[in-house]
């Protein structure tokens, strides 16, 4: 698995990644997904990561970029069509 930028989050990340890959390949890709079953594991990993981003002073940079990205949401939400 790929490493986290924060080594202290690696265990939580690996747990979440394993869950996600299983859900994605066995449920989502087969059209059988009804909910994101890995959300609890993601929340644990996210809590660790958010703290790490803050400590490293990169949380703001990420948040700003994500705000920029929201402008593109409309484009993404269009049906791909052609």
């Amino acid at each position: 698995m790929s490493a986290s930028l924060a080594p202290e989050c690696n265990v939580l990340k690996e747990r979440y990644d394993s869950c996600f890959l299983k859900w994605y390949s066995e449920k989502y890709l087969r059209g059988n997904a009804t909910q994101d079953e890995c959300a609890p594991l993601f929340n644990a990993y996210k809590a660790c990561l958010s703290k790490a981003l803050k400590e490293r002073g990169i949380d703001q940079m990420v948040d700003e970029a994500r705000m920029d990205n929201k402008d593109n949401d409309a484009q993404y939400m269009k049906p791909a069509g052609g």
């Binding site: 698995m1 986290s4 930028l5 989502y28 890709l29 990169i58 970029a65 994500r66």
Partner: protein
């Protein structure tokens, strides 16, 4: 000015495998420069069956010496003398398994004042043909240097400060050095040069990214998820 790179190709693998490989593409033997990958957010819409993911990659890279020479010292401040640096890449992707497409957008978070790179990829299940073993890909990369904008602002400031006697020695020296550097290059020429060098790099790195995906896809075909994860472990060990 802005420069664009674009390319179309297809993978001889089904759409579902390609989207899985996209999430699993780091580490691979062609991506030794990717130090980490984290998922920042993920949301699944049960109605549309669309999955939106935001990830943060940390990449180690070397600024080409030709670019380092073009930059004022203040811009190269966070770089090691050999030009090695690191940069964060924010990647957003949306998969629609029902309609058979995946759209991705990646952009650099730092170094934006020097060069902004936005890469968009579309993966598409070919329209209903009997052949489900291929996926169409389109890639476009937009390269834009903003170095001139920053410098123009600074230049205005220097102009305002020029008559002020309170300018400290260090700043005055830096200003003088930059103005000297200016006299030989117009800002437009610097931007063009940075964009041209970056375009050349993109032309070299894109085929590698494609090869990296192919390695992951082959592992997936030969041994499923387990083979991909085992391969990743190997790639990580080689890196260390």
């Amino acid at each position: 000015m802005v420069k664009f790179y674009s390319t179309d190709y297809s993978y001889d693998y089904p759409f579902s495998a390609v989207t899985l490989a996209y999430f699993l593409r780091y580490p691979n033997p062609y991506s030794r420069h990717v130090a980490s990958t984290d998922t920042i957010s993920r949301s699944f819409n049960p109605e549309t069956q669309r999955l939106t993911t935001v990830r943060l990659h940390l990449k180690r890279s070397r600024l080409p010496p030709a670019v380092v020479k073009l930059l004022p010292k203040s811009a190269v401040g966070t770089t090691n003398p050999d030009g090695s640096t690191q940069s964060f890449i924010l990647e957003r992707s949306v998969v629609d398994v029902k309609e058979g497409w995946m759209e991705t957008e990646s952009r650099n978070l730092d170094w934006n004042n020097v060069l902004s790179v936005i890469e968009r990829q579309t993966y598409r299940r070919p329209p209903a043909s009997g052949d489900k073993e291929s996926t169409d890909v389109t890639v476009s990369v937009r390269l834009k240097s903003r170095i001139g904008e920053q410098i123009r602002k600074r230049r205005q400031r220097w102009g305002e400060q020029a008559s002020a006697a309170s300018v400290t020695g260090g700043e005055a020296e830096e200003g003088a050095a930059k103005q000297g550097w200016f006299s030989t290059w117009s800002t437009g020429a610097i931007r063009s040069a940075i964009e041209a060098i970056s375009l050349q790099r993109t032309e070299k790195s894109q085929p590698k990214a494609q090869l990296g995906m192919s390695v992951v896809l082959a592992r997936l075909r030969n041994g499923g998820l387990e083979a991909v994860l085992a391969g990743m472990e190997q790639d990580r060990e080689v890196k260390l």
